[in-house]
Symmetry: C2
Subunit: 410 residues, 2 copies
């Protein structure tokens, strides 16, 4: 945890309501850090359905492989997450550490090993000393309470400067249901979800395949539309748990019209958490929203927006409060997508700085300079080719990013 | 020009021999900088053939479009290069500036406008005040001498900390011929050639289509295998000029066996100049050679090597002298190419740190730490899948990169 909280952090933590069927607890197992919590256990009542999406890395961590295999069962009774060690690139040792941790949690909770889900975040390539969880799980189970969200969000932080929580309510077939979520992630964030862990909890009775569809559709414009440094982690994990304890109708089909307000609230939680990750980008001082419109398609707009969002030259210019739209042109040009220089227009905030392939005749450098001092900046590119539009979030690239990442492991 | 020369710069400048049929001169036209040269003119004798490769950006600069159109003529009499302004994203003004500059140069040299080649480097989106070249071209032509290479290389520098020159000799059909080259580029360097300008000169009688084939083949493992920041410029230009003044046989076919030693020397000049660009990466303190072997193909090896080379987390770890091979695994995993975690081995220098998907049992952190203090580091990844191998060059990512690029335009 960094001693300095990101200036882009939300002003306060949300009030997290309790969700029937979910209890949480945290402990300091001493995996890597001293004087802080580094493991959390979530315990779910029987009947909890689960869904998940994971990194597309070809070298995933052991817990990612563990969870992928367990999703077939569609039921969850426990979630164990540790920080400090990612249990990635740890070979057989890593698989054994997963099995051992799950066995401890299953014994403590009184469930099957296959109903335990795992996630780890931290350094890659170090064996995870899972024996340090021995004895811890039983205590965690005994201490777990329904109001443990903030502590849980803190326990899974690595280079995060603030815990990331969100909550929403929705009507489901005439009943109020709750959606809570928390996340961690600050570096190694990219489309396909960086070193990002996020967990969503609801009391809504949603069948596992429906929950899976909600997640799969929901990440496209939320977690997968956020990048800090273009680096994709081996460990990205987003899991959703639905206890079904609310007195709402059970939803078994993704196209059930009663799901509409729930989907909206669910996506709002995903959007809120993923935006907080951009706000806590390592060393970030500016939140940058990039909108690309007029592209030949939405995927084309996405690729151009990501090319801009991942350009070190754009990101350093934003850090320097310099409306260097020439670098935006460069990033559009290198994306490899259809673009016509002479139709291109670029805005910083609401100020159009370039129009039809040239500096805007009305371009007032002083007005732009003043706007660039704001902590939240919107950069819009209009290509003038079609109707494709997309939006991604990122942050600036500062010397602090280099400092954090040049001195992380030692 | 940065006041501090990169610690990775060559110890001395090469002695540049004269090439019959090439004369060079420089001047301070005052385009953007004060108290330094910012324009160079190269004058070629009649009969000089020309070839070129350019950025693949969809938003190329006006001079890039100018040169592409002029290459059809296959003949060159003059090359004008300015620094301080890239004449990119300047619309009709940019095209007019090219035409005006070429007209001035053609009048001074006594050639057709279509025999004048142009390149510009510097800030994007500012109109190029080409009228400042008026009067300058005639003086340059009068002053041009055959020994002007070092001054020419200095005149085209932007954030470069040292001029980049290389020379080689080759036998061509029983005669010695000379190949000289110089280049600029330090940021916005990526495959497809970043803001990189490079010019090659030879007295060998090489027909334009053969010169074009030499360039096209030669850049693959030289300029296109170098990345500083993954950002591709709107202005990349590599031009080669062959005066044909050497008493060597004229080469009209790319497969002529007499071309073999020339091709080798030509590629050596390209390799030398492109390595110097990595050595002058903005803020660079370490030269990083990345070798990927055992991939399913050479293009697959290239994509994995580039994923590593462009990873901010790998680059900041190198800056921090941290052999963080976990981040290398991450970069392999995100490349999207076939990779099997459990067959992966990774070396820093000659020390194998990871083997078959786990930390190497003999991994000695102290030995690796000592090796990481060196200014030149080789990082090798063996995938164990096939025979695909490739090599790219890059540099570390330091706070100075952010400082240079957060305060470049103002």
């Amino acid at each position: 945890m960094s001693p300095t909280i990101s200036p882009l952090a939300p002003k306060s933590l949300p009030d997290m309501p309790e969700i029937a069927g979910v209890r949480l607890a945290t402990a300091a197992a001493g995996i890597r850090y001293r004087d802080r919590t580094d493991v959390m256990l979530a315990v779910f009542d029987q009947g909890t359905s689960v869904a998940g999406v994971f990194t597309r890395s070809k070298c995933p961590s052991a817990p990612v492989e563990w969870c992928r295999a367990r999703l077939k069962g569609a039921r969850a009774r426990a979630l164990v997450v540790n920080s400090g060690n990612a249990n990635a690139f740890t070979g057989k040792n890593g698989r054994d550490a997963c099995a051992f941790t799950a066995k401890l949690a299953a014994a403590a909770v009184g469930c099957k090993v296959s109903e335990v889900f795992l996630a780890s975040t931290g350094v890659i390539g170090e064996p995870l000393p899972a024996q340090m969880f021995d004895g811890v799980m039983t205590k965690l189970e005994a201490q777990a309470t329904a109001d443990g969200y903030v502590d849980a969000a803190r326990a899974i932080m690595t280079t995060d400067t603030f815990p990331k929580l969100a909550t929403a309510r929705a009507r489901l077939g005439g009943t109020d249901v709750i959606i809570n979520g928390f996340a961690k992630g600050a570096g190694m964030i990219a489309p396909d979800m960086g070193t990002m862990l996020s967990f969503i909890f609801t009391d809504a009775p949603i069948a596992a395949p429906v929950l899976q569809a909600l997640l799969r559709d929901g990440v496209t414009d939320t977690f997968n539309a956020v990048t800090v440094d273009g680096d994709t982690s081996t460990s990205d994990t987003l899991l959703a748990f639905a206890t079904g304890k609310a007195r709402a109708p059970r939803i078994g089909r993704a196209h059930d019209p009663r799901l509409v307000p729930f989907r909206k609230a669910f996506n709002a939680v995903l959007a809120n958490l993923s935006e907080q990750i951009a706000r806590d980008g390592e060393g970030a001082r500016k939140l940058l929203e990039i909108i690309v419109e007029g592209a030949v398609s939405k995927p084309s707009a996405r690729r151009i927006a990501m090319s801009i969002a991942n350009s070190p030259l754009v990101k350093t210019a934003i850090a320097g409060e310099d409306a260097n739209w020439g670098r935006v042109v460069m990033a559009v040009g290198k994306a490899g997508e259809p673009a016509d220089r002479d139709r291109l227009s670029i805005w910083f905030g609401d100020i159009r700085v370039a129009h039809k392939g040239e500096r805007d005749p009305g371009y007032d450098e002083a007005a732009v300079a003043a706007m660039m001092k704001k902590p939240e900046i919107t950069l819009k590119v209009a290509l003038g080719l079609g109707k494709g539009r997309d939006r991604v979030l990122t942050c600036d690239l500062t010397k602090d990013y280099v400092a954090i990442n040049g001195d992380y492991r030692s």
